[in-house]
C-alpha cells in the first residue's frame, strides 16, 4: 500500500528540470562516461521523455529510443512483479558491438548507457553505474522535493484556440 501510494504521488508530481539541474546532471554523466568508457549516456523519464544526454548520439534517434527504453523498462518491471520482485533495477541488452544498459535512477528516471564492447566491458559499466545512480538519485530527490514554481512556468496563453490554430496551421 505504502509503495503504491508513493508511486501515485510521484505520478502526480510533474517533472520540472531547471538549467542548473541539467548542468549538474550532465557533469555527473560526463564524469561517469569517462570512467566507464561508454559511448553515450541518456537520462529518460519513465514516461519516455528524454531529459538529457551526453556523448556521441550520432545515428541515434533520441526520442524513439527514449520511448522504447521506457516501455522496455516498464515491461520488465511487470515481469519482476510476476516473479515476486518489486522491480529489476537494471537491464542489459548485449549486442555484438553495441550494447545498452538501463538502470533505474530514483523513482522516475532511467539511465541508458550505450557502450561499445570493444572499448569497455559490461563489468566496468556496471561498476561505475552504481556510484552514478546514487549520485543522480540524490539530485532527483532534491528536484522532487522542490515545491516552488507551481505557477509561472511559462507565459500565459490567453487565446488558446488561436494558439492551436497557429500550431496546427501547416499540419
Amino acid at each position: 500500500m505504502g509503495a503504491s501510494e508513493t508511486d501515485r504521488k510521484l505520478r502526480k508530481a510533474r517533472l520540472i528540470f531547471y538549467e542548473d539541474d541539467v548542468e549538474r546532471i550532465n557533469k555527473a554523466l560526463e564524469n561517469y562516461q569517462n570512467l566507464s568508457k561508454s559511448r553515450c549516456n541518456m537520462l529518460i523519464d519513465v514516461e519516455g521523455h528524454p531529459v538529457t544526454q551526453v556523448g556521441s548520439t550520432e545515428g541515434i534517434n533520441l526520442e524513439t529510443i527514449a520511448a522504447l527504453v521506457a516501455a522496455s523498462f516498464a515491461a520488465t518491471k511487470e515481469v519482476a512483479k510476476i516473479l515476486g520482485e518489486a522491480e529489476f533495477s537494471s537491464l542489459t541488452h548485449q549486442g555484438k558491438h553495441e550494447s545498452i544498459q538501463l538502470s533505474l535512477v530514483g523513482d522516475r528516471t532511467i539511465l541508458a548507457t550505450i557502450f561499445d564492447s570493444e572499448e569497455t566491458t559490461i563489468g566496468m559499466v556496471m561498476f561505475y553505474t552504481k556510484e552514478l545512480v546514487e549520485k543522480l538519485a540524490g539530485i532527483f530527490a532534491e528536484i522532487g522535493n522542490r515545491k516552488d514554481m507551481k505557477q509561472g512556468v511559462f507565459e500565459p496563453m490567453e487565446d488558446m484556440e488561436s494558439v492551436i490554430d497557429d500550431l496546427f496551421g501547416d499540419v
Binding site: 520540472i16 531547471y18 538549467e19 514516461e47 534517434n61 526520442e63 522504447l68 509561472g152 507565459e155
Partner: protein, 347 residues
C-alpha cells in the same frame, strides 16, 4: 505526465489513442505521421505482430512549436486494442496527459466499445489518473461504412464524461486532425491553468508558500509588537483586566511584548500558552501592583526629602526641614500607606 525541461526549453506531453481492437487507432497515427510536415514529426515506430496488429504500441513524436515561450512536443502513442494485451496497454497509459478514445461506429462493435471504455477507466484509475479530469476526446470512427450507429447512440453509451466528440473516417484522414487538435488544446489549457503565469495570480505563488508553511502563525503575525495595542488588548484580555490596565499598561506592555512576541513566530504552537499568560490577567497584575506602589513610595520620599531640603535651604538650617518633613509625611503619606504611616508618625 508533462515534463518541463528548462535546459531545452521544452514541454513534453504524452497523448494516448485508446479503443477496441481494429477501431482505427494506428490508422489515426499513420495519418498524422503522413500529413505532418517533416520538420515537425519524428519517426513512426510500431511494435506490432507480423499481421500488423499492435503488440505493444505505436509511437511518434510531434513537435508543434512554441507555446507560451516553450517548445511544445507531443508524444503520440496507441495501445494494443485486443483484450489479451491489457498488461501492455496499462503500461502505455502510464503517465498519459490526454486520451483519444477511438470507437468503431458499427453496431456490432458497440459491446467492444463499451468494454474498452470501461477498461480505459479502470486502467486510468490504476495508474493514478482520473477519467473524470484527464483531457479526453472521443472519436466516432468509420463513419463512411453503410450501417453505423447513430451519433446520439454512441454519445449516450460511451460519452460518460461529456467529452468533446468527433466523427471520423480515419482511413481517408477525415476527422483525424480535428480530434488531435482538440485534445492538444485541452491538454495545453490544463497546463496553462496549472503552470501558466496568470496575471490575476501573479502575487499568489509567494503568498501561498508563506501562508502554507507556518500554519499556526496567523495569530502572532498580524500583531506587530507594541504599535497595534488597541487590537491586541481586546483579543487576549478579559474585560475587567482591560479596564484596570487602561492607564498604566501602555508603557509596560510596550516593553514586555516585543520580547515575548519575537520568539513566538518560530515555534508558534508552543508559544500560544505564553500568549494566554500575558493576556489572562491572573499572573501579571501582582508584580505590576507591587512594583508600582514601591516605586511611588520611593519617588514620593525623594520628592519629600528634596522639598524638605529646599524648604530648609531658605533658612540655611537642616533642623527646620525636619518638622516640615514630618508634617508632609503625616498629611500626605499616612493616608496612602495606611498603618505604615502611623508607625512612621510614631517615630
Amino acid at each position: 505526465m508533462v515534463q518541463i525541461n528548462f535546459a531545452k526549453r521544452e514541454i513534453n506531453c504524452k497523448l494516448v489513442y485508446y479503443g477496441p481492437g481494429l477501431s482505427g487507432k494506428t490508422t489515426n497515427l499513420e495519418v498524422v505521421h503522413k500529413k505532418a510536415p517533416a520538420s515537425k514529426k519524428g519517426e513512426l515506430t510500431s511494435i506490432a505482430t507480423e499481421g500488423d496488429r499492435t503488440l505493444f504500441f505505436d509511437y511518434m513524436p510531434l513537435e508543434l512549436g512554441k507555446v507560451g515561450g516553450m517548445n511544445t512536443k507531443f508524444q503520440l502513442y496507441t495501445v494494443p486494442g485486443q483484450v489479451y494485451y491489457n498488461a501492455t496497454r496499462k503500461l502505455v497509459l502510464q503517465g498519459a496527459d490526454g486520451v483519444v478514445f477511438v470507437a468503431d461506429s458499427q453496431p456490432d462493435k458497440m459491446d467492444e466499445n463499451i468494454e474498452s471504455f470501461q477498461n480505459l477507466e479502470e486502467n486510468l484509475r490504476e495508474q493514478g489518473l482520473q477519467p473524470e479530469t484527464i483531457p479526453m476526446v472521443l472519436q466516432w470512427n468509420k463513419r463512411d461504412l453503410p450501417n453505423v450507429c447513430d451519433v446520439s447512440e454512441l454519445d449516450k453509451k460511451l460519452n460518460k464524461y461529456n467529452s468533446p466528440t468527433f466523427e471520423a473516417v480515419a482511413v481517408t484522414g477525415e476527422g483525424v486532425f480535428p480530434t488531435l487538435k482538440k485534445l492538444a488544446q485541452m491538454v495545453l489549457e490544463k497546463l496553462n491553468k496549472e503552470y501558466g503565469l496568470n496575471p490575476d495570480k501573479k502575487g499568489e505563488a509567494g503568498k501561498k508558500e508563506t501562508a502554507a508553511a507556518p500554519a499556526a502563525k496567523p495569530e502572532p503575525k498580524p500583531e506587530p509588537k507594541p504599535e497595534p495595542k488597541p487590537e491586541r488588548r481586546p483579543e487576549p484580555k478579559p474585560e475587567p483586566v482591560a479596564e484596570r490596565r487602561a492607564e498604566p499598561k501602555p508603557e509596560r506592555r510596550a516593553e514586555p511584548k516585543p520580547e515575548r512576541r519575537e520568539p513566538a513566530p518560530l515555534p508558534s504552537g508552543n508559544r500560544k500558552p505564553q500568549g494566554y499568560d500575558i493576556g489572562s490577567g491572573a499572573l501579571p497584575p501582582p508584580p505590576k501592583k507591587g512594583g508600582g506602589k514601591g516605586l511611588m513610595i520611593v519617588m514620593l520620599l525623594i520628592l519629600v526629602v528634596a522639598g524638605a531640603f529646599i524648604g530648609g535651604g531658605y533658612t540655611g538650617k537642616l533642623e527646620q526641614a525636619v518638622p516640615a518633613l514630618q508634617k508632609f509625611y503625616d498629611d500626605k503619606l499616612a493616608p496612602t500607606l495606611g498603618g505604615g504611616s502611623q508607625s512612621a508618625g510614631g517615630e
